[in-house]
Symmetry: C2
Subunit: 337 residues, 2 copies
């Protein structure tokens, strides 16, 4: 899949940032692709983009309307049907990361087919993959890993892409989840492939490249999360990372959805992921830590970053507050860049 | 899925044991369910069961015809179509572990539907699963793991089931692959589920049970195999094994399909799998090694088993030559039984 740009971001009647977090991610990381937002009656949040009707978005040249709002259970609300049909009629593709497929909207599939538009459910892989070969590929790769799900792996990979590109390095974010795919315009939702092909799908996603090129591969889950560690391990083996960045949210009382298990220690987390990565890349090493300190008082956050960097001997950043430059600097010091 | 018994085993025009290895497995482990074999012209191997036509099998009461032969690429040969249709017409279900689905045989799906027969592709899960919870379940579980794919994990789990049942213990083999499912009559092909649900599917497969009951869970792949380790890890976490048995084939020059990687050391293999298992069962421990010595001279095999048992301090058996009793004995000594 390769999504057509620019995007019109549809956030329906979202009541808060969380409901529209997919659209927020796209607007934040790809402002140059995001020409406007479509809000329905009752919407009480904004992406900070110009408000547009579907017609206005089409007139401004939008090529894909992104369904960037989450509903209870991933469902598609009835009130979205009319604007979705309108977008297709006016020449746009639709892209969605929801659980429910766009093809479940009555008549939408036929309408799109008749008009030659794509309905892209980014959760659902649109091709078959080979099993992973474990053969080392050319080019360099960085993978974000973490102590839990949803602790900043996508954000950190995107921040490092931006920092590397700012320095004139060749760098591409490689998306492995729904929001990441909408931000990258392509990718593979690795947790949705058939289990046998996790590492193979990741090998396909980050193929051979020039020796000075970096893929920044979005991590998923954690080797310490009992629900998703299988996905994580296949992703680690397929990515063959030269560099790993460990992501962490320190205030969580337990792993998400697993109330009986606290988060692992950062050092243990680093060591287990690096050990796993060495199976397909013996040169794999950790190059830093990315901590989401948004729920800590500023002074605590600062102290935490300093203490962790000192304890573990590696750069320790908050992707939002400090930026990721110290990690990229350190990669330069190590001779990786 | 729950396959109806007894079975009629179809081996087509198989030229050797390997082509009919699925049927061999069923005939070896479930002689009481295997009433006969169907062979076509050109078949040069035998399961040692009575030869029957499909009509004779039906008359003897076969409830499922098992397609127990592998073809190049998992395809269904044209010459199999007529006997398959005949079996359905005469009242049998069909079950197959091939890559190609039974529904691809022209007209077979409609015929089965009209007559109320099941066409069971055991590779394809027939239900949805929840994500794994990591919550400890009641009852006991043993999981076979290994240094590579295809090194005796199914055989060893079945041998331990048989040995435990012989001793009057409550024990059930839990199948995670095609041949295992045909032998158990039910199960989940864990490498064919959506990646997010590997551990959840395994939790479903080996549910809460009485405290003295053992599930013998068939392992898949290896944490050291770069193609399939994700499946293995989800399976380890979902199985929550109290006991692990490490399987190994010592003469292999490299991991199957991975010519650039030798097999891991047995001790490293044991430690990594036990460490992974402790995430969902802190009491997990290795209780023995199961070595496939079929390609070693008898004296070498004997010396290898003795040296390995001595080096690692645990029972080291060949499931075929020595039987698995020493492993079950050791579990008793440890107070696990």
């Amino acid at each position: 899949m390769e999504l057509k740009r620019p995007y019109l971001l549809f956030i329906g009647a979202a009541r808060d940032d969380l409901a529209a977090k997919t659209a927020y991610g796209v607007a934040y990381w790809r402002p140059e692709w995001s020409i406007g937002q479509v809000r329905l009656d009752g919407c009480t949040t904004t992406l900070g983009l110009p408000d547009m009707s579907v017609e206005e978005g089409a007139a401004k040249g939008a090529k894909t309307m992104v369904i960037g709002v989450a509903n209870r259970g991933g469902a598609i609300a009835d009130s979205w049907h009319a604007p979705m049909r309108k977008a297709v009629e006016l020449g746009m593709d639709l892209a969605s990361g929801l659980h429910n497929s766009l093809t479940e909207v009555p008549g939408l599939g036929d309408l799109a087919k008749g008009l030659g538009r794509q309905l892209v459910d980014v959760r659902i892989p649109d091709r078959d993959f080979a099993v992973g070969s474990g053969v080392k590929r050319t080019g360099k790769r960085l993978l974000t890993v973490g102590t839990d799900v949803s602790c900043g792996k996508m954000f950190t990979a995107l921040a490092i892409e931006r920092e590397m590109q700012r320095r004139g390095l060749k760098a591409d974010f490689r998306a492995t989840g729904q929001t990441g795919i909408l931000i990258a315009g392509s990718g593979v939702s690795v947790d949705a492939v058939i289990a046998d092909f996790i590492s193979g799908a990741t090998e396909w996603l980050a193929p051979d490249n020039t020796p000075d090129h970096w893929d920044l591969v979005e991590g998923q889950g954690s080797l310490f999360h009992p629900s998703y560690a299988g996905v994580t391990l296949g992703l680690v083996h397929g990515a063959q990372p030269d560099a790993l960045v460990v992501c962490h949210e320190p205030t969580r009382p337990h792993k998400r959805g697993i109330p009986h298990q606290p988060l692992p220690d950062l050092k243990d987390c680093m060591e287990l992921h690096v050990q796993a990565a060495k199976l397909t890349n013996p040169a794999a090493r950790c190059v830093g830590f990315s901590i989401n300190t948004s729920r800590m008082p500023a002074a605590d956050a600062d102290a935490y970053l300093k203490a962790t960097a000192s304890r573990l001997g590696l750069p320790c950043v908050d992707s939002v507050k400090t930026g990721v430059a110290p990690i990229v600097d350190h990669m330069g010091t190590l001779g990786l860049l």
